[in-house]
């Protein structure tokens, strides 16, 4: 059995406000995004019978179901960091295709910015759990947050393949140009390659402009089976291909520091969809750092291994270029609340529905979505299309 064309995304939306939203908690954002996505789909909350989420405790989907007043037939708290919500789409497709549920709600909400100022205790992630490997073999050496880990991957890539700071800066600048076309983007001031190269170091080889934003935002999507999808008021966005993979948890476990599991999830998605790289009209990938986008493009096979720097040079991925990439402005300039994958997915849906105004990619019929979670640990790939 294949999941190709079995389901479609029929609702997708974000919280009313994104950016700095100090008056909302994460679970409030989940609920508001769910309301907006269900309204976008024209489906009542009472019809939701599959709940997929993470990031609000270890039993996230149970927590959300209680909060929203849903008794799901299918419940899934799969947590793979920023890629979770893209992977949830594949899980929802499988559950719907198997007849286990019919209306799947996938939600996200985080307050990466404002949560820092909230009173009261906050849970620590498993990364710092003293019984876990990274707590003994990475944390004591001052490796913790994503910048400390991704920077080491980038440094090896630069050494091994000749990738340069200019190559990375090209991505920051091209992505900013997309953000300038998006009224909801957090960072819209002009940015040049020289600006990026002159900015301060966060973790060499990353300048501050190589690093994503830290914002507040929530989003949700609604997935239904093929028959239901055809009755929807808006054009259904079909799941043509999907794949997921993880290769490690912390970077000490990476089979190869210059690779990511996108090579596996991407291959699976292309095989299922039966399309080639040249068929893809718009590409939306995770840009926690400029390097994340760069390495993902080559791991997905859009160019040879190690060639993504030159491949994306000369503003090829900017508006007007022949490789439209991260068209909302990305995690670098649009929004990045912590687990950004949901917003990659929503932007792909909006592009395929022709809802993107100034930043609309002309005649976008086929989109590739790839989200990365953890320390380049787990990725989900979707190939989405419209009739």
């Amino acid at each position: 059995m294949t999941l190709k064309n079995k389901v479609a995304i029929v609702g997708a939306d974000e919280t009313d406000e994104i950016g700095i939203v100090p008056d909302m908690t994460p679970i409030m954002m989940h609920a508001q995004a769910a309301r907006n996505a269900l309204r976008d789909a024209g489906i009542d909350k009472s019809e939701v019978d599959g709940v997929f989420t993470c990031g609000i405790g270890g039993m996230a989907s149970t927590q959300l179901s209680e909060y929203l007043g849903i008794i799901p037939k299918y419940t899934d708290s799969t947590m793979t960091g920023g890629s979770s919500f893209v992977i949830h789409v594949e899980h929802a497709a499988a559950a719907i295709a198997a007849g286990l549920c019919s209306v799947a709600l996938i939600t996200h909400g985080e307050t990466g910015h404002s949560g820092r100022f909230r009173r009261g205790p906050r849970g620590m992630g498993g990364f710092f759990d003293s019984s876990m490997p990274a707590a003994q073999f990475e944390v004591p050496f001052g490796v913790g947050g994503a910048p400390s880990a991704y920077s080491m991957c980038a440094a090896r890539h630069m050494h091994q393949y000749g990738t340069t700071s200019e190559h990375l800066a090209e991505i920051a600048v091209a992505t900013r140009k997309w953000a300038q076309l998006n009224p909801r983007a957090f960072m819209r001031e002009p940015l040049s390659i020289d600006d990026v190269l002159a900015s301060r170091w966060v973790a060499y080889p990353f300048h501050i402009y190589d690093c994503c934003l830290v914002t507040d935002a929530g989003g949700a999507v609604v997935v239904v089976g093929a028959d239901r999808a055809r009755e929807m008021k808006k054009k259904p966005v079909w799941v043509l291909g999907s794949g997921e993979a993880s290769t490690h948890q912390s970077i000490l476990g990476m089979p190869d520091i210059t690779q990511t599991p996108a090579r596996y999830s991407g291959k699976a998605a292309f095989e299922m969809a039966g399309v080639t790289h040249k068929d893809i009209d718009v590409v939306e990938v995770y840009d926690s750092f400029t390097y994340t986008a760069l390495v993902t493009i080559e791991e997905l096979g859009f160019c040879a291994k190690g060639e993504a720097g030159p491949f994306l040079s000369n503003q090829r991925s900017a508006p007007g270029g022949d490789f439209p990439l991260n068209t909302n402005g990305g995690g670098l300039s649009y929004t990045h609340p912590g687990m950004y994958g949901m917003f990659i997915l929503i932007e792909a849906v909006r592009q395929l529905r022709n809802e993107c105004g100034e930043r609309q990619v002309k005649d976008a019929k086929l989109a590739l979505v790839n989200a990365t979670g953890g320390m380049l640990s787990a990725t989900g790939t979707l190939i989405l299309g419209v009739d």
Binding site: Q136, F137, V139, P140, F141, S148, M152, H159, W201, Y204
Partner: protein, 137 residues
């Protein structure tokens, strides 16, 4: 010393204790799989390649190459004063381990992937010694 104590320290678990015991003796002792004839890291009770549970502990040379690194200009953990160098060292015996590169001015022009390095022990407290690495020569 008060600052040093605020850094996160490892809490050895039953399967990692021999590694940390070795560090305390200033010996880099890693798990070894006789079936694969290979060292592996981080320590487990079994070989992650062949899933054999018959493993040994063997001493390594403490020499290797700087597989990759980053210069942390923001403290990622309490107790660290930036800039400091986080590093992945590829041991001559094969496995890679996370460490800090010390004994060098932490600036990009001084540090290169694949430069030869050797272990340099940092006694943190009575229980824990951390394996740092420094450039050879």
């Amino acid at each position: 010393m008060a600052m040093e104590m605020q850094k996160p320290v490892p809490y050895p678990s039953p399967e990692t204790q021999p590694f940390w015991d070795g560090c305390k003796r200033h010996e880099l002792t890693l798990p070894y799989c006789p079936r694969c004839e290979a060292f592996f890291f981080y320590p487990r009770q079994f070989c992650p390649a062949c899933f054999s549970w018959e493993i040994e502990w063997r001493q390594c040379s403490g020499k290797g190459r700087l597989h990759t690194f980053a210069i942390q200009f923001r403290a990622q953990m309490p107790g660290f004063t930036p800039p400091y160098v986080t590093a992945v060292v590829q041991l001559d015996e094969g496995p890679r381990m996370m460490t800090n590169l010390i004994g060098i001015d932490p600036m990009p022009e001084n540090i290169h992937c694949d430069m030869p390095v050797e272990v340099a022990w940092e006694d943190v407290n009575d229980e824990i010694t951390l394996p740092m690495f420094k450039p050879v020569g």
